[in-house]
C-alpha cells in the first residue's frame, strides 16, 4: 500500500495534465491553475526541510571535526543573522541596541551548537546560553528603536537586509560568475591538448566563432566573420535541431514511463 498510492497519484495527476491540454473548457483550466499554484506552495514548505538539513549537516561537521569545520559556524551565523534581518525593522533613525542584540542572539546560537557537540562542558555552555538569552529578551523588551515585524515584508526593505544583500551576496555572486572567464580559458587549453578528431573540430569551430570580430586579419576578416555566421546559422541549426528532437523524445518517453509507473527511480525503485 505504502508504495502503491504514490504511483497511483503520479499516474492520476500526470494523465490529468495531459487531458487538460486538449480540453479548453473552463473547468479544466481552473484545476490546471490550481495545481500549478499548489506545487509552488509545497516547495516553500520543503524549504524548512532544506534549512533543517543545512543546520544538521553543519553541526555534524563541527562535531566530527571535518576539514574546515570551524567555518560552519560562519554559515550558521550568516543564516541566522540574515533571517533575523528579514523580520526586524527600525522604528526611527537609530538602531539603538540592535547590534548588541544580534551579537547575543548569535552567541546563543553558537553556544547551543557547542552544547550539542560537546559532552563534558555542556552545563557551562547551557548556563551561558541562558545568560545571553536573557540579555536578548531584555533588549527586546526595553529597546524601542527597533522591533520584530511579522505583519508586512518590512524586513526585506530594512537597511541591514539590503546592506547584506548588496555588499555580501552580490559581490560574491558576481565574482563567482566572473571567474568563468578564467575557467573558460583553461578549458580551451584543455581542449587544445586533446589530440583527436572530435576535439580538433570543436576547437576549430570555437576559434572561428571567437575571432569573428577580430580586425587583425586584414582583408580576410570579413570572411572569418561570414564563416562564423554560417557556422552559427547552418550546422549549428541542424545539430541543435537533432539534439532538441532527441531531448524532446527523451523527456516525453521518461515522463510517460513515470506516469505509467514503469520508471519509479524518483522513489528509489527502478
Amino acid at each position: 500500500m505504502k508504495r502503491q498510492i504514490p504511483v497511483v497519484l503520479v499516474g492520476v495527476f500526470g494523465l490529468f495534465m495531459i487531458f487538460q491540454y486538449f480540453v479548453p473548457h473552463e473547468s479544466s483550466e481552473w484545476i490546471y491553475e490550481f495545481l500549478l499554484d499548489w506545487t509552488i506552495i509545497i516547495g516553500i514548505f520543503a524549504m524548512a526541510l532544506g534549512l533543517w538539513s543545512l543546520y544538521r549537516v553543519s553541526v555534524e561537521k563541527i562535531k566530527t571535526r571535518k576539514p574546515a569545520w570551524g567555518y560552519n559556524y560562519l554559515t550558521l551565523v550568516g543564516l541566522f543573522t540574515m533571517m533575523l534581518f528579514g523580520f526586524t525593522t527600525q522604528n526611527g533613525e537609530a538602531w539603538g541596541w540592535f547590534f548588541p542584540f544580534m551579537v547575543s542572539a548569535n552567541l546563543v546560537l553558537v553556544l547551543v551548537i557547542q552544547a550539542t557537540v560537546t559532552k563534558d562542558m555542556r552545563g557551562l555552555f547551557l548556563s551561558l546560553t541562558a545568560v545571553f538569552f536573557v540579555v536578548c529578551v531584555l533588549i527586546i523588551i526595553f529597546d524601542d528603536t527597533w522591533g520584530f515585524h511579522f505583519e508586512t515584508a518590512e524586513g526585506l526593505r530594512s537597511t541591514m537586509f539590503r546592506a547584506f544583500f548588496d555588499n555580501i551576496l552580490i559581490p560574491i555572486f558576481a565574482t563567482m560568475f566572473s571567474l568563468l572567464a578564467f575557467f573558460i580559458a583553461s578549458a580551451a587549453y584543455r581542449a587544445f591538448r586533446a589530440r583527436n578528431v572530435m576535439a580538433t573540430l570543436l576547437l576549430l569551430a570555437a576559434l572561428i566563432v571567437m575571432l569573428r570580430f577580430n580586425p587583425y586579419f586584414g582583408p580576410v576578416s570579413p570572411y572569418v566573420n561570414k564563416a562564423s555566421n554560417w557556422l552559427m546559422n547552418v550546422p549549428n541549426l541542424a545539430a541543435q535541431r537533432a539534439i532538441v528532437i532527441g531531448i524532446g523524445l527523451g523527456i516525453v518517453a521518461t515522463s510517460l514511463k513515470v506516469m505509467l509507473g514503469i520508471e519509479r527511480g524518483y522513489m528509489g525503485k527502478g
Binding site: M17, L51, A174, A206, S228, W230, R241
Partner: protein
C-alpha cells in the same frame, strides 16, 4: 596554525583596516554614515578578492567567503519565499483575518478553501522529519512529480518534437532558377544567392538526419549507419565548438564588470 598563515592574516587585516579608514575618509565629504559605508565597500572588495583567490588554490579567505555566502543566501531565499509565496499568495486565499494581520489585500473572488490542500501536502512533506511518518512524505512528492510529468510530456511533445519536425520542411530544390548569386560574399543564411540557400538547406537537412542517427540506441553503429552516426557526431562537435566560442566574449565582459568594481568603486583609480 603555521606562522606564515598568521602573518598573511595579520597583513590582510591591516590592509582591511587601512582601506576602511581611507574609504571612509574619501566618503566623509558626501555621506552621513560614511564609516559604515566605508566598511561595507571594503568588505565587498575583500570578498571579491577572497573569491578570486580561489584561482590560485583553496585558502582560508575563500573558505570564509564560501561559508558566509552559503548561510546568507539560504536565509535570503527563505525570507523571500516566506514573504512572496506564503504571505502574498497563500494567506489571502485561506483566511481574511490572517490577510488583515499581514496587511495583504483580500482575495478578490473570496476565499479559496482548496488551497488548504497544498498546506496539508506541505505538512505531509515535513513528516519526513519524524522517523515513522517518512513514508507519507512520498505523497506530496508524487503529486509534484505527477503533475509536472504530465505537463512536460505535452510541452515537449509539442515544442521540441512536432514543431521541430515541421521546421525541417524546407525547400531543397529551387522553383525557378535565379542564378548562382553572389556566393562568397553571402556565406550566411540571409544570402540572396539561391545556390547558397539551397546548399545551406541541404546541410541543415543532412545535419538533422545524421544527428538523429547518432542518437539511435538500439542499432549497432556499423556500415552506412555507422558513417551517418559519425557524420552526426562531427556536426554536433562543430556546433558545440561554435557555442563555446560564442560564450567566451560574454564571460570576459563579466570579468570586466568585477574589475571595474575593484578599481572604480573601491579604489577609485578609474573615473566613470
Amino acid at each position: 596554525m603555521r606562522r606564515s598563515t598568521l602573518i598573511v592574516m595579520i597583513v590582510v587585516l591591516l590592509l582591511f583596516v587601512l582601506s576602511w579608514i581611507f574609504k571612509a575618509n574619501a566618503l566623509s565629504a558626501g555621506e552621513d554614515n560614511y564609516i559604515a559605508r566605508g566598511f561595507l565597500i571594503t568588505f565587498a572588495a575583500f570578498l571579491t578578492l577572497a573569491v578570486m583567490s580561489f584561482l590560485y588554490q583553496d585558502n582560508p579567505f575563500y573558505k570564509f567567503a564560501e561559508h558566509l555566502f552559503v548561510g546568507i543566501s539560504a536565509a535570503f531565499w527563505m525570507c523571500m519565499g516566506f514573504w512572496t509565496t506564503i504571505v502574498q499568495n497563500l494567506i489571502p486565499r485561506l483566511s481574511t483575518s490572517l490577510a488583515d494581520f499581514f496587511q495583504v489585500p483580500q482575495q478578490a473572488g473570496g476565499l479559496e478553501p482548496f488551497f488548504f490542500t497544498p498546506v496539508i501536502l506541505g505538512i505531509l512533506l515535513l513528516m519526513r522529519l519524524s522517523p515513522k511518518g517518512g513514508w507519507i512524505s512520498r505523497w506530496p512528492l508524487a503529486f509534484i512529480v505527477g503533475t509536472t510529468a504530465g505537463l512536460n510530456f505535452i510541452r515537449y511533445l509539442r515544442s521540441d518534437f512536432i514543431k521541430q519536425i515541421s521546421s525541417t520542411f524546407v525547400p531543397l530544390l529551387g522553383r525557378q532558377w535565379e542564378g548562382i548569386g553572389p556566393f562568397l560574399s553571402n556565406l550566411d543564411l540571409s544570402a540572396t544567392g539561391q545556390l547558397v540557400v539551397l546548399i545551406s538547406n541541404w546541410v541543415v537537412f543532412l545535419g538533422v538526419f545524421c544527428g538523429l542517427i547518432y542518437f539511435f540506441f538500439s542499432k549497432e553503429h556499423k556500415g552506412a549507419f555507422g558513417f551517418g552516426s559519425r557524420v552526426g557526431i562531427w556536426i554536433l562537435m562543430i556546433t558545440f565548438g561554435a557555442s563555446f566560442g560564442y560564450t567566451v566574449m560574454g564571460r570576459i565582459s563579466l570579468l570586466v564588470g568585477r574589475i571595474t568594481f575593484l578599481f572604480r568603486d573601491w579604489l577609485g583609480i578609474i573615473e566613470t
